[in-house]
């Protein structure tokens, strides 16, 4: 992580340097400092907007080329974090109440990073941030609390509009709220797309399960998570500061579990009476008890609802002592296990835990499940360390069912699997533990405890995919299937941020000019990226790629890329043709006729120079000619076999041939004898006839 921070710091410094240079250059030379997104939006590197910056996305002045009067700006996303492409897909170009209007999103080259990255183009909030920093003058002071309903309405509308589209915001916090108009009357929720869901969220704005996750593992969650964050944000806006600012995440989580979120966050603070009921409803730790959108809407409309009575979880009269601490409930103990992983396994294996569960809670089912987990661990894993991991992970799932999936350094909600995998790959982290989580039953267990059979079945399908070693399968396929819009991670095109299969060939074309021609044009990432993003139409080509026969694999590769060029363009790919030309020679071997092969070898450079892969493919793999070649070859093989048989008969069977020759000789001799006899007879008859 320190390395990552260092990288970010270096990039920021480089960016500032370039901005400095840009400010000193002439207008004509400033084009070097402009990134063009989707051919229509110009982002100006030398015009940063630090007041709109997000923790992980810097803001820059932008211009809509087709409509220069439009006030827009751009967020430059970090290329080592996945972007929420589902939001871009569903929200781009649409103005939604309560949300910062997303104009568009796309990839462009960004000079400070010296690579391509993702840009989000938003309409500019003219009123700026609602608040800046962590401490500010309370926005919802006690006197203005009556106006809170008018103020909350657009934010709730934003959450609701996202929920209607099946989306969640997951970045609701005070410093991510904006005034759209200069008069500061129209409030909207800021960006939530540039980073994985809830990546930048402070602990206070997140529920306990979400807090326990690694930042990229919090998942899309549900609208209830947004409402919790809305409640926490309202409280923060009302107080002007975060009352739990000084607490670490484990301390805050422990307090929230022990006292409940409302009590933990509000504590001794004094807030407007009007807000109490709303905050109690929104900050409920139970998803079932938490106010939903309609309840909150009713409250805004003036209907007063029954205050939520927080039901604390079942507690035992006797404590369970773990790590010199006393624990009375499942949730608090699960949290302790969560943060003391190495000590937990021993505690779970001990009889004390069983006794505590059976006597303290009379919960025979949980005790039996833990006992079963101990047995399963022995069967499934040979190493004690692995067994311990399995036992602790499953016990945590059992004791705290809404907790994330946890395994040592990895902790995430299963719906964030795509983001976790994507981030791990983007940041070059070791993904073996993740593969282990999917393939060795951790993920399956999580869904099984939720009785989610459909998802458990999907995990089984993932396990099957993981086991397949073929190109287009394995971890890479899973990566692109679960992380929507993740750019292709092939080392060849990684820096080009290819998040759309349409752009792959152009990226490869520019790579082809620098790459060593011997490098294979298709690797595991490219194959998986294409097969996931192009659909099943290329299944045949991917299957060919996996053929052990060199010529078939080369044919698959050429067919794959020619289909892509034929479907998406561009019209000419000179570099790609030359690069592929080095790898497709085996296709010529598909023809049996040596003369045809020589002809193809002779003509191939001509087709390579044309820059059209479909043409090259048609030239090398003309189906009619290949069929005719195959037929002729089969005929030739039959002819060869027949000739061989005849040679064997003539040459390899001398005794029979001698016998045949002798027989023929005798026949000839007999014929000669009788011919002479007949001739004599004829002569005699003629002589007699002449004599009269």
């Amino acid at each position: 992580m320190a390395e990552l921070e260092q990288k970010v710091k270096e990039a920021t410094e480089a960016e500032q340097k370039i901005a400095g240079v840009a400010s000193k250059t002439d207008n004509s030379e400033r084009e070097d400092f402009v990134a063009v997104v989707n051919g229509n939006y110009r982002v100006f590197l030398h015009l940063p907007l630090p007041l709109l910056d997000l923790p992980n996305a810097k803001a820059y002045q932008a211009e809509d080329v087709s409509s220069p009067d439009r006030r827009i700006f751009a967020y430059v996303c970090r290329p080592d974090l996945p972007v929420r492409k589902d939001h871009v897909r569903l929200r781009a170009g649409a103005k939604t109440e309560g949300l910062l209007p997303l104009v568009d999103g796309g990839v462009a080259y960004w000079k400070p990073m010296q690579r391509h990255t993702y840009f989000l183009i938003y309409e500019r909030p003219l009123g700026g941030h609602v608040v800046m920093g962590k401490k500010f003058t309370p926005v919802l002071s006690k006197e203005e609390a009556d106006l809170v309903s008018k103020w909350v309405r657009p934010l709730l509308a934003g959450i609701n509009n996202l929920a209607v589209c099946g989306l969640t915001h997951r970045s609701i916090r005070p410093d991510n709220l904006f005034y759209m108009d200069a008069e500061k009357t129209q409030i909207v929720l800021g960006d939530c797309i540039s980073v994985p869901p809830a990546y930048d969220q402070p602990g206070v704005c997140e529920t306990v399960p979400s807090m326990l996750c690694q930042p990229e593992g919090r998942g899309n969650g549900v609208a209830a998570d947004d409402l919790y964050a809305l409640g926490a944000s309202l409280m923060w806006l009302g107080l002007g500061h975060n009352p739990v600012e000084g607490l670490s995440i484990p301390e805050l989580a422990e307090l929230k579990v022990r006292k409940g979120s409302y009590a933990t966050i509000i504590g001794e603070e004094r807030i407007a009476l009007a807000l109490i009921e709303l905050l109690r409803g929104l900050l409920s730790d139970s998803v079932e008890q938490r106010w939903d959108i309609s309840s909150t809407q009713q409250w805004i409309d003036g209907r007063r609802l029954t205050p939520v009575q927080v039901k604390s979880g079942k507690s035992s009269q006797r404590p369970f002592i773990f790590n010199n601490q006393e624990y009375f409930s499942y949730r608090s103990l699960a949290l302790a296990f969560f943060y003391n992983w190495d000590l937990a396994a021993e505690a779970i294996r001990s009889e004390r835990l069983m006794t505590w569960i059976l006597r303290g809670f009379e919960d025979k089912q949980t005790a039996e499940t833990i006992a079963k987990t101990l047995e399963m661990a022995v069967v499934a894993f040979s190493q004690k360390e692995r067994q311990d991991d399995f036992i602790v992970s499953r016990t945590c799932m059992l004791l705290q069912p809404d907790a994330p999936l946890h395994l040592r350094d990895w902790s995430f909600m299963p719906d964030a699997l795509g983001y976790v995998m994507g981030t791990a790959v983007l940041q070059d982290r070791d993904v073996k533990p993740l593969i282990g989580i999917i393939s060795t039953g951790f993920l399956e267990s999580w869904y099984s405890f939720k009785n989610d059979r459909v998802s458990a079945q999907q995990v089984k399908a993932m396990q099957v995919t993981l086991k397949k070693p073929d190109l287009g399968m394995g971890f890479e396929r899973l990566l692109y299937e679960t992380a929507e819009g993740l750019p292709c991670q092939s080392p060849l095109v990684k820096k080009h941020y290819v998040d759309n299969v349409r752009d792959l060939l152009e990226a490869l074309e520019s790579v082809s000019k620098k790459v060593d021609a011997k490098t294979d044009p298709v690797d595991r990432h490219i194959a998986a990226f294409i097969s996931v993003n192009f659909g099943t139409k290329l299944g045949e080509q991917i299957a060919l790629l996996n053929s052990p026969k060199e010529n078939v694999a080369a044919q698959g590769m050429l067919s794959l890329y020619s289909t892509l060029q034929w479907t998406f363009g561009p019209e000419k790919l000179y570099g790609m043709c030359a690069w592929l030309g080095r790898h497709i020679a085996p296709i010529i071997g598909n023809y049996h006729s040596l003369e045809k092969r020589r002809q193809l070898e002779k003509d191939m450079p001509k087709y390579i120079r044309k820059g059209s892969l479909p043409e090259l493919y048609r030239f090398l793999d003309n189906k009619d000619e290949r069929l005719s070649d195959m037929r002729s070859f089969e005929q030739a093989r039959c002819d060869y076999a027949k000739i061989s048989q005849e040679i064997d008969f003539l040459d390899g069977n001398r005794e029979k041939r001698i016998e045949h020759g002798m027989l023929l000789g005798y026949e000839v001799a007999a014929i000669v004898s009788f011919s002479i006899a007949l001739l004599v007879m004829l002569l005699l008859l003629v002589a007699r006839f002449l004599k009269g």
């Binding site: 000739i643 061989s644 023929l664 000789g665 002479i676």
Partner: protein, 162 residues
């Protein structure tokens, strides 16, 4: 049963046809039998020793017949009686010509088959050479893969360089 009956019937018919001929042409038959003795001996010997090629008697027979014919003509057109036939046969010239011709037939049976065999062998060699050239042309056109046997057949050998 039916085959045996048919055979007996044929023999019976043959006897009925031949017997009158034998009676009418007894001088010719006697002369012919005597003059064709080498052929008869050859036929008997071939049958007795079960020789591999039963063509020798045909060679001898053909020439023997050719040698006999001029004298048979003389018998028919001069003195066609039993005495005439016996007298004609025991003429040195008759025996010399008829039996000499049989000897020539014997020589034919000894000389012609080896000559024909040599010719056949030469033709075989030329044919083999021609076929090998054809195979070489196929290999030149299709490569070594063409020597692999098509599905369901036994693999053929590659052409030998000669």
């Amino acid at each position: 049963m039916s085959e045996k009956k048919t055979g007996k019937f044929r023999t019976f018919i043959t006897c009925i046809v031949l017997f009158p001929i034998l009676l009418v042409l007894k001088a010719t038959v006697l002369f012919f039998l005597l003059a064709m003795l080498p052929t008869l001996v050859s036929l008997v010997l071939e049958n007795k020793y079960k020789l591999r090629y039963k063509y020798k008697w045909l060679c001898i027979g053909g020439m023997n017949f050719a040698g006999t014919l001029p004298f048979l003509f003389r018998l028919w057109f001069e003195d066609n009686s039993l005495e005439g036939a016996i007298g004609l046969f025991f003429d040195f010239k008759t025996i010399f010509v008829a039996f000499g011709a049989a000897v020539v037939g014997f020589i034919f049976s000894r000389c012609i088959p080896p000559i024909i065999l040599s010719i056949v062998e030469m033709a075989d060699q030329r044919r083999i050479q021609f076929l090998r050239d054809l195979q070489r042309q196929l290999v030149d056109k299709w490569g070594d893969e063409v020597t692999e046997a098509p599905a369901g057949t036994v693999a053929a050998s590659a052409p030998k360089n000669q």
